[in-house]
């Protein structure tokens, strides 16, 4: 009985500590907003430097919903949407020092939970029942398709490449990606395809063009919807963007270099600490600078390509090219193996 109690207590404390990643996400978001706020204020635009403080402040305000809303769904669905992101985070290696499930989760299962989380968030907005809410929900559906399609294409084509390479077991496991075979210069097509995938996914992370970062709702958007559910959805949006960055960083992180570096350490937790710090620092830097750079480059490309719906066409063309490059590398390896 005492053991069960201690196990439950230990499990719960580990769960609380998993929220550290949520804090890193919030820290990255506030850093990004700080920089974008500085550049926008130089151009005469006023941007709140502490959007996170607004999010936490609205938690203590009375819940406000439009008259037409389905009250219980609008209040509690954001909680379920945010909760569906936690298992995804828990499956990313180095999510915390205290794994409460096997690290190296399966990418298909990760995408299933991502789709579940998005669906619940979209339903929460639909349940508000106003025309404005419907417009926001429709925008969220478009953003979901633009984000999840290149992610699926990337994961499936890289998994195909590993299958062709003769990897035993689950090719969709995140642990397989740590072998980093798809990023070696000896596989140039796969390397080029993966880099294009990284660019496409980062540039499609939903964000505000007005300098509000990855918050789902801007200050003037859906003013009838306020209080804790709104804050939950804002946190959900920031955390989702951060998890996408973490998952994609996992694809190109130089695991081999850090494994070699850690071989010199005699105490395992030192090696773990170095890996933990290196991985999350990379994610933080990618979120603050890498993602912003991809947004800017995509905007420039969009202006250069002067056709109707240039953003959509660029998205389709780049995703297709990246998929073909990685798959071609896989087919090439299969043919070499067959010839041998």
């Amino acid at each position: 009985m005492q053991n069960i109690l201690f196990n439950i207590l230990g499990y719960f404390s580990s769960w609380v500590l998993m929220l550290v990643t949520l804090m890193i996400a919030l820290f990255a978001e506030s850093t990004h907003t700080y920089f974008s706020g500085r550049s926008l204020s130089r151009r005469g635009m006023i941007v709140s430097l502490l959007p996170l403080r607004d999010i936490f402040k609205s938690m203590t305000m009375p819940i406000s919903l439009p008259e037409a809303s389905v009250i219980r769904l609008s209040t509690y669905l954001p909680c379920f949407a945010l909760a569906a992101l936690i298992p995804i985070a828990a499956s990313i290696p180095f999510f915390s020092f205290l794994p409460i499930m096997d690290n190296g989760g399966d990418l298909i299962q990760i995408l299933q939970f991502a789709a579940l989380s998005e669906t619940l968030a979209i339903l929460a907005i639909f349940s508000l029942g106003t025309t404005d809410a419907q417009i926001t929900a429709n925008r969220m559906i478009r953003e979901l398709v633009k984000l999840i399609v290149p992610m699926m294409a990337a994961f499936i084509s890289i998994a195909f490449y590993y299958s062709a390479n003769g990897i035993q077991g689950d090719p969709f496991s995140l642990n397989v990606f740590t072998t980093a075979l798809h990023m070696t210069p000896s596989a140039p097509f796969s390397l080029a395809g993966t880099l294009i995938f990284i660019f496409v996914i980062f540039s499609q992370i939903p964000h505000s063009n007005a300098g509000f970062g990855c918050s789902l709702l801007e200050n003037c958007e859906l003013p009838d919807f306020n209080g804790a559910p709104r804050s939950m959805l804002q946190l959900w949006s920031i955390f989702r963007a951060f998890l996408v960055v973490a998952l994609v960083t996992h694809i190109f992180f130089p695991w081999g270099y850090f494994k070699g570096l850690n071989a010199g350490f005699s105490i395992s937790w030192w090696a773990q600490s170095v890996n933990f710090a290196a991985f999350w620092t990379t994610v933080l830097v990618m979120r603050v600078f890498g993602v912003t750079l991809c947004w800017k480059v995509m905007e420039l490309l969009e202006k250069k390509v002067r056709i109707k719906n240039s953003r959509v066409w660029l998205f389709i063309i780049l995703t297709t090219v990246a998929t073909l490059l990685v798959v071609y590398e896989g087919i090439k390896i299969s043919m070499e193996v067959a010839a041998f």
Binding site: G10, V20, K57, P62, S64, L65, T75, C79, I108, G227
Partner: protein
């Protein structure tokens, strides 16, 4: 009950994922429920958005919760560096748990 679904192509640890999801959903719903209880009804008109007072008499427990919120929590929220200090505090908690090694399965 099947706890792990395993084929040649994927391994899904269903129980572990479900446990984390349900625990997280329960915790977030409880948090929202407590906020809803303490800050008023779930459908509030725009005029009552800020600093509204409720006419309903509060019970003994609600009075304690409300005074805890206004006297202890509110100054913390109003403090300009509360978010940074909260992050530092949670990192300390993280460090303590790391060295005590609790909760590892």
């Amino acid at each position: 009950m099947i706890s792990t679904l395993e084929t040649g192509y994927f391994i899904w640890n269903l129980t572990a994922w479900l446990k984390i999801y349900l625990l997280s959903a329960g915790a977030f719903c409880l948090l929202t429920f407590i906020i809803k209880k303490n800050t008023g009804g779930s459908l509030v008109s725009k005029k009552m958005m800020r600093g509204c007072e409720r006419d309903i008499d509060e019970g003994f427990f609600e009075q304690i919760v409300s005074s805890f919120r206004s006297r202890i929590m509110q100054p913390w929220f109003d403090f300009p560096f509360s978010h940074i200090l909260s992050i530092v505090l949670l990192f300390l908690l993280f460090a303590v748990a790391l060295f005590s090694k609790s909760g590892v399965e």
